[in-house]
């Protein structure tokens, strides 16, 4: 059976909380979890850490983690923090 992507929208405020929720959804996800972060314009160290943890969880469960709608500033943060290789990016 083809894996089904689970799409989860992350709002601009309270990213850390949203990512924890996404982590819970990861339990049920198969194949791919897509986080729609198009509403996220800025990211702080806590959110970055949560994202890193989520990536770790996804890797453990062999779920592909994709970020959709990443703005260039956030993308640059992910590159500088060396986290970008752990995600795939969807436009």
């Amino acid at each position: 059976m083809a894996p089904i992507a689970l799409i989860f929208k992350v709002e601009g405020n309270g990213i850390g909380h949203a990512l924890r929720e996404a982590g819970e959804k990861l339990e049920k996800a198969e194949g791919q979890l897509v986080l729609d972060v198009s509403a996220v314009h800025r990211i702080d160290p806590a959110a970055l850490k949560a994202l890193e943890e989520l990536a770790g969880m996804a890797e453990g469960k062999r779920v592909k983690l994709a970020l959709r709608g990443v703005n260039i500033d956030v993308y640059r943060v992910l590159k500088l923090a060396r986290l970008a290789p752990r995600f795939s990016f969807l436009s």
Partner: protein, 874 residues
């Protein structure tokens, strides 16, 4: 894994990696902050630092036992308030500087993670300073304080971090190593995620930073010489030196070390020092200081003396001084290991030297400068501006402080307008990459966004051009005392010289300089200049073909500027505006140059070019400068009516080549296009008529105009490869210039119309367009064709037909030059053509192999279309 990591435990590595990861994350997040964000954070940090200035000073004193509490508090305030005053309006985020007129924008890029070593001598002030720099530039810092100043530095970092965090800086932006360990430092210095090492401290720390292979700002020891010159304000100088040398007990590395005093004022100066609380050591006392303050084994100061009060040092070494003594002054007789006190002494011990002359004073200062102080700081007290300037020249120091205290002066912002800092760049003399006072711009990568800026173009021609039949009558208006007509025997014989003479004002004294009708040689120019000098000419009339006018141009140049070195002026250049050798502007004589062409082709009456024949080397030398442009051109067809058919054809094709090359030149502009296209049309229409019916006055007039109009175009757009090849070939085989051009022309058009192997750098061209330009010329001539390729081929065919009609040889072989001879000549021809400036404006950058190919094409005279096809396939 970074080097030296093998000796670190796994736990330790994990700890260090954690620090780096935290800093890297903070730096990454920090990139999202705006200028307003960082300015707000910096202001709050500065306020926090100011509030804790005394507290931190006290901690530093308690921990390090160095310096003076009050001075350390002041240093903390300078490190916050003064630095803030400097940085508050500086842009450090995004576009930081714009130069619209240059099309440049400088954009700030944070470094990321900075690893920072801080010293024992200025511990908290350095931390405060570096924290402010880092936040202002959106960087994260891992601090490694000196082990004996760890607690006070950690506290300074904490104060700065809390203030920063509270006002929006990312978590983890500052961290401090939990203990000092050289292996930790080594690990972090080589860590791939550390972008910069900022090492302020002893030579060991600085050397380690520079040895790490990472970009580093390393600021270490100095040895500040002071020249107290006899014209100085002595009272001010003595107070300033005491203020500086006792500030924080002399711990600032920019403080004065050896004062070189002029003999005339030496005793008086020492008296003043003594009056203000200095102890002047006698010989035994100096010897005692030498062996106790400086370690004879190393030649460096002993730690026990660093940052201590003068009285404490005296007490420890058994020197009897008054309790109020601020400074210990020791006269020395020289510089170097035999004179230990000439070394750096970060304590209130000052060496003095009596200099008998200014020359000696300079030499001693240079010696001190070279004895450990290169690139750092030097001080001079003088009212003599020449002495001050000379001192600035001979001393190698990033900071040369004039009539002010060295330590506080070097820090900037108090006694002068230098950039405030707590890190003194010492340049290459000190093994540093900068001589600057380190500040925010050293914590940034500055990116330059450079927009394409079209080169400035020009359009320069003679100020007056008279044309059409009897234009020579205009000579009447040019008043002259002494005019020299430069012409040749045949023109004199057929009466052209008399025509010119007749139209000159009656009061003008006229002499004729008759020269051979050939490209001028050096000897001809020299003789001509002698004639001009003999008659003190104020006007030169060049009557003749291109060679004659070129000769007159070079004569005028040498007559007006006898020092002009023709060999140098012919030096190669790529861009006439940036050429290395400039033509002379100073003139000992002045003469108006009027050019009257008697052929219709070279356009020399209009152009800034002149060609001379280098007989010795058998080559043509081209001169190019707008100062060579004639002042007046008289384009009167009466002088070309008798031109032989062969000459008509040769010069006419030269004219056409000028126009065609100008039309596709990288310097072509709307100003030159109009002339180039007009000249092409005229030449195509009237050249065959003038050739076949030499007495056709209209055709002669139009061809004469066409030559000057083409010259207007190529004077400003220049020519191309065709001329470079023709110059080389023509000079080698004595072939007329127009004929040599004709042999190359179809092949060069086919070459330029094909896809270049190498494009010519050309900011004014938006795309490669030579083929399109040729096609447009074909359209203008109504040659037909549907595609660009077809139109180019039709243009080439039309040119070949024209050449046939003018009875030109269609190959070099037809000239009777053997293949073997040509084969031997080709390598030289290629070299000479490549050195010729003509091709610098060609649309296609010619490779040497391509020049060779073109020469062979011209030799064989194979159809140019075939050549074009070969080029395309290549």
């Amino acid at each position: 894994m970074p080097q030296n990591a093998s000796s670190l435990s796994e736990e330790r590595i994990a700890y260090l990696e954690g620090l780096v990861r935290q800093a890297r994350t903070a730096a990454a997040v920090f990139t999202q902050c705006t200028q307003e964000d960082v300015d707000r954070i910096v202001k709050q940090m500065v306020l926090a630092g100011l509030e804790k200035a005394q507290h931190l000073a006290r901690l530093a004193i308690e921990e390090t036992r160095l310096g003076v509490l009050e001075d350390k508090a002041i240093k903390n305030m300078v490190a916050t308030e003064f630095v803030y005053d400097y940085v508050k309006d500086k842009r450090t985020v995004g576009a930081i500087r714009e130069f619209p007129e240059r099309g440049l924008v400088e954009v700030a890029e944070p470094i990321g993670v900075i690893f920072s070593l801080t010293p024992i001598t200025n511990p908290t002030s350095t931390v405060l300073f570096k924290c402010i720099m880092a936040i202002k530039t959106r960087n994260a810092v891992i601090f490694s304080p000196h082990p004996n100043a760890w607690r006070c530095c950690t506290e300074a970092v904490r104060i700065m971090y809390e203030a920063a965090l509270k006002h929006g800086a990312p978590e983890g932006v500052f961290t401090c190593l939990e203990s000092h360990d050289l292996q930790d430092n080594a690990y972090l210095m080589r860590h791939k995620d550390v972008g910069l090492i900022d090492a302020t401290g002893g030579p060991g720390a600085v050397k380690a930073a520079y040895s790490s292979g990472k970009p580093a700002l390393g600021v270490g020891a100095g040895n500040t010489p002071v020249y107290l010159e006899k014209t100085a304000d002595l009272d001010m100088a003595v107070v300033d030196i005491i203020t500086s040398k006792t500030f924080d007990n002399g711990t600032i590395c920019a403080s004065e070390q050896t004062v070189v005093i002029d003999d005339e004022i030496y005793d008086l100066v020492l008296e003043k020092f003594a009056d203000l609380g200095s102890h002047i050591c006698n010989e035994p006392e100096t010897a005692l200081l030498s062996r106790t303050v400086i370690d004879p084994a190393t030649g460096f100061m002993r730690p026990m003396a660093v940052g201590q009060k003068a009285t404490d040092i005296a007490r420890v070494i058994g020197l009897s001084v008054r309790p109020s003594t601020k400074l210990l002054i020791a006269p020395i007789q020289g510089v170097g290991r035999e004179h230990p006190l000439s070394a750096e002494k970060l304590c209130p011990v000052l060496a003095v030297y009596r200099a008998k002359t200014a020359d000696e004073a300079f030499k001693i200062c240079v010696d001190v400068n070279h004895a450990g102080g290169l690139g750092h700081t030097a001080v001079i007290f003088s009212r003599n501006n020449d002495i001050i300037c000379k001192f600035g020249e001979v001393i190698n120091a990033g900071r040369i402080i004039v009539n002010s205290p060295g330590s506080i002066g070097a820090m900037g912002g108090v006694y002068n307008d230098m950039v405030p800092t707590f890190s003194f760049g010492c340049g290459t003399g000190g093994g540093n990459s900068t001589t600057d006072n380190v500040n925010v711009y050293h914590y940034l990568n500055i990116k330059r966004v450079a927009r394409r800026t079209p080169a400035h173009m020009w359009f320069r021609i003679p100020s007056q051009i008279y044309f059409n039949m009897n234009a020579v009558e205009n000579l009447r208006q040019f008043v002259s005392r002494s005019t020299i007509i430069v012409s040749n025997p045949s023109l004199e014989q057929i009466g052209h010289v008399d025509v010119v003479r007749r139209h000159l004002p009656a009061e003008t004294t006229v002499h004729v300089a008759v020269i051979p009708d050939a490209e001028p040689e050096a000897k001809v120019v020299t003789q001509g200049v002698e004639t001009l000098n003999f008659y003190r000419a104020d006007q030169i009339i060049a009557l003749g073909g291109g060679s004659m006018i070129d000769a007159a141009k070079i004569m005028k140049l040498k007559y007006e500027s006898p020092e002009a070195d023709l060999e140098q002026l012919a030096a190669p250049f790529l861009d006439i505006r940036k050429r290395v050798v400039q033509y002379p502007t100073e003139k000992v004589n002045r003469a108006r140059l009027i050019a009257i062409p008697t052929t219709s082709g070279t356009g020399s009456e209009i152009t800034p070019f002149a060609v001379m024949f280098d007989k010795q080397n058998g080559r043509k030398v081209t001169f190019a400068d707008y100062s060579l442009t004639p002042d007046v051109a008289i384009v009167d067809p009466q002088f070309v009516l008798s031109m032989p058919r062969g000459l008509t054809a040769d010069t006419g094709i030269d004219c056409l080549t000028h126009a065609l090359e100008a039309a596709v030149s990288i310097y072509a502009s709307p100003y030159t296009d109009s002339s180039a296209l007009q000249a092409i049309q005229l030449a195509f229409k009237y050249l065959p008529i003038a050739y076949e019916n030499p007495q056709d006055e209209e055709a002669r007039t139009m061809m004469h105009n066409a030559a000057s109009i083409a010259a207007i175009a190529f004077s400003n757009a220049s020519v191309g490869v065709n001329h470079a090849l023709a110059h080389a070939f023509g000079a080698r085989y004595g072939v007329a210039h127009g004929r040599a051009n004709a042999l190359m022309l179809p092949h060069v058009i086919a070459y330029n119309a094909s896809v270049p192997t190498k494009f010519m750098p050309s900011p004014n061209q938006r795309a490669y367009s030579a083929h399109i330009r040729y096609a447009q010329i074909g359209d203008l001539l109504r040659l037909g064709g549907n595609t660009v390729d077809e139109k180019v081929k039709k243009l080439v065919a039309a040119i070949e037909q024209l050449l046939d009609r003018l009875a030109f040889p269609r190959s070099i072989a037809e000239l009777g030059i053997s293949r073997e001879d040509f084969e031997r000549a080709v390598p030289d021809l290629v070299k000479i053509a490549f050195d010729d400036p003509s091709w610098r404006s060609n649309p296609r950058l010619p490779l040497l192999s391509e020049l060779q190919e073109l020469l062979w094409s011209a030799y064989q005279g194979r159809p140019a279309a075939e050549h074009a096809a070969r080029q395309q396939s290549a």
